[in-house]
Symmetry: C2
Subunit: 359 residues, 2 copies
């Protein structure tokens, strides 16, 4: 089939047949694509999560090569399973496609989905195709298995607030997209946007963090077997907002020490070039897909050791404290109230992750 053929000309039945021919059988899959439901083997405890990417809200077609979009659609769900210390096993893919979308887009999306699934041992087991009027919607449900759960509830006063990796790169990548920088389907830089040739070093890592995030999946899973972490979640809406969620679940307050934040160095370099502020991106910016954890102070060394096995860095950035759910920034002995500024899909006045072009 000509890759430029619109899906409206191919038809639902032929498109399903085409996509199905691309999906390999997987371990534990008793009935995969092609039946009313998929039947899969899981442990006694099954994890299920769902996360959606909506065109104009979470991505723009001209910003996201479809292959990277497919990778990201799976990664954001895998991040949720790993943050529960689970092992992702199966995924269903629900696509809503305007009729003029070319086959090449759907195939590119599946390139990324299948590639990421193979990298992570996940089997695609079915899903759903539907038309939509004018926006692409990519909605995945991922099933995983777990022995011991890492939950959002369970943090104790005195636990340190610990994050993996660095923060702010994905948010800096979004700003770089807004300023014209672009990656191609292979992740190579094809447009520097407003950045000068000698000031664009951080562009690829930041764009990559935004378009093709790499959550610390194996590390999250490894925490299931170890009594180190009291509570955890993944960082998707931004540190400030997600930390407040963890505080709400665990019925605690928390403070953050600004100097301790692992601000992503690429983000810092990029923002410096355009007079921006990477600290704010690290504190409030979304889509880091790192882990946020509550760790007793005497277990931080053990955590660091466990993380080094998976080449994951961890940073203590603050501490939980008794009190109603609220956040502070600590400056020496002084505490200043911190209001989360994280992403809210429904608050039209706030910045959106991937704003639509103004009409």
């Amino acid at each position: 089939m000509d890759p430029q053929t619109p899906v409206g000309e191919i038809g639902e039945r032929a498109l399903i047949r085409h996509l199905r021919s691309r999906i390999p059988a997987g371990p534990g899959v008793i009935a995969g694509v092609g039946d009313d439901a998929a039947a899969v083997e899981t442990g006694p405890l099954t994890l299920v999560t769902t996360d959606v990417l909506v065109e104009g809200v979470h991505f723009r077609r001209e910003w996201s090569p479809p292959r990277l979009l497919g990778r990201k659609a799976l990664s954001v769900n895998l991040s949720d399973v790993a943050a529960m210390a689970g092992l992702a096993r199966y995924a269903t893919v629900s696509l809503c496609l305007p009729r003029d979308v070319p086959l090449a887009f759907v195939d590119g999306l599946y390139d990324g989905l299948l590639e990421r699934a193979a990298e992570t041992g996940v089997s695609l087991v079915g899903g759903n195709l539907s038309a939509s009027e004018d926006r692409i919607v990519v909605d995945l449900a991922v099933l995983g298995q777990a022995d011991r759960l890492l939950r959002r509830v369970g943090a104790a006063a005195g636990d340190l607030v610990v994050v993996t990796g660095t923060l702010g790169a994905a948010a800096a990548g979004l700003r770089a997209l807004e300023k014209g920088a672009r990656l191609d389907a292979d992740g190579a830089l094809v447009d520097r946007g407003v950045w000068p040739p000698d000031g664009a070093d951080g562009l690829v890592p930041c764009l990559r963090a935004q378009l093709d995030p790499s959550p610390p999946l194996a590390f999250g899973r490894a925490l299931a077997g170890q009594e180190i972490v009291h509570a955890a979640m993944d960082l998707s809406d931004g540190l400030s907002g997600d930390l407040l969620s963890l505080c709400e679940e665990s019925e605690l307050a928390a403070w953050i020490e600004p100097d301790w934040l692992p601000v992503d160095p690429s983000a810092a370099a990029l923002e410096k070039q355009v007079g921006g502020d990477a600290f704010s991106l690290a504190l409030h910016g979304g889509e880091d897909y790192q882990m946020l954890m509550a760790v007793p102070p005497d277990r931080v060394d053990a955590l660091r050791e466990a993380a080094s096995v998976w080449s994951v860095s961890v940073s203590a950035v603050g501490q939980f404290a008794a009190g109603p759910p609220a956040l502070s920034l600590r400056f020496g002995e002084a505490m200043r109230k911190l209001r989360p500024k994280s992403h809210d899909h429904f608050a039209a006045r706030e910045r959106r992750r991937a704003p639509v072009p103004e009409a």
Copy 2:
């Protein structure tokens, strides 16, 4: 909160908190709404299915009271699980909402979801809220458990083509919506549309079949323990299209005897009033959410007996035959080729289930 408040003013965090407070804990739910993923107990074999309702494609806001839309969103997924002889246990709800949608709509939708979940022993265990530009998308993933699977593959030449219930009522209900008939949130008739007072008897059953379908869930589940049915699927796209799918999976042909079709009597009465053709709706119309089965002739009596336990009627409507996947209509000794006319989301030229208003 004022039910007319737009969700954009309420904000994502507050809306999640509100919806969460409405969702009861359920059996087998270890971690429900509020964590990165839900953790649930399932059997060794887990069924997963996903089905989406897109505004303008599958429903119109002015046609579907939100309560009935919530019931239907769950029912269409339950139908898939039952058609595999599974027991539905858990559901995640992924909503994409334009910012101007009032809280009353979301609450109405959850009224229906929670009510239908309670009726069927299903627990809502989480999901996802996202903004969308202008269309509501309701995407559910349902998990179930199964011992023995009823699949689409497995029909044998000579098996009878058997359906449950009557056919065509949901398609007649869609036509009634197009002609102005309306139900309110409680399922009562509030507008007869073009039908005269003395010719509107079939309206409520047909509208109900379209807006709030009742798949034979317990009957499907009961088939797991009995060696009666070789293959099965649910009727969602219309008998002709779905039978062709079953033929493709089982690598068989099939014929249908027109006189044997259980044309829904309400659909027939309604269509007669407006000069329409209920036979065509029964043969091609979508969304019956009945079961389509391949049954050896000597097991049809056993099937009828098993069905009567659940007050489900079954009708043999044709037979599978050796040959490449294709359908025929049988008229006495003559066979006429039958082309499926079922719903194709991507074929813009064909009738859509719930067409958008013409611009």
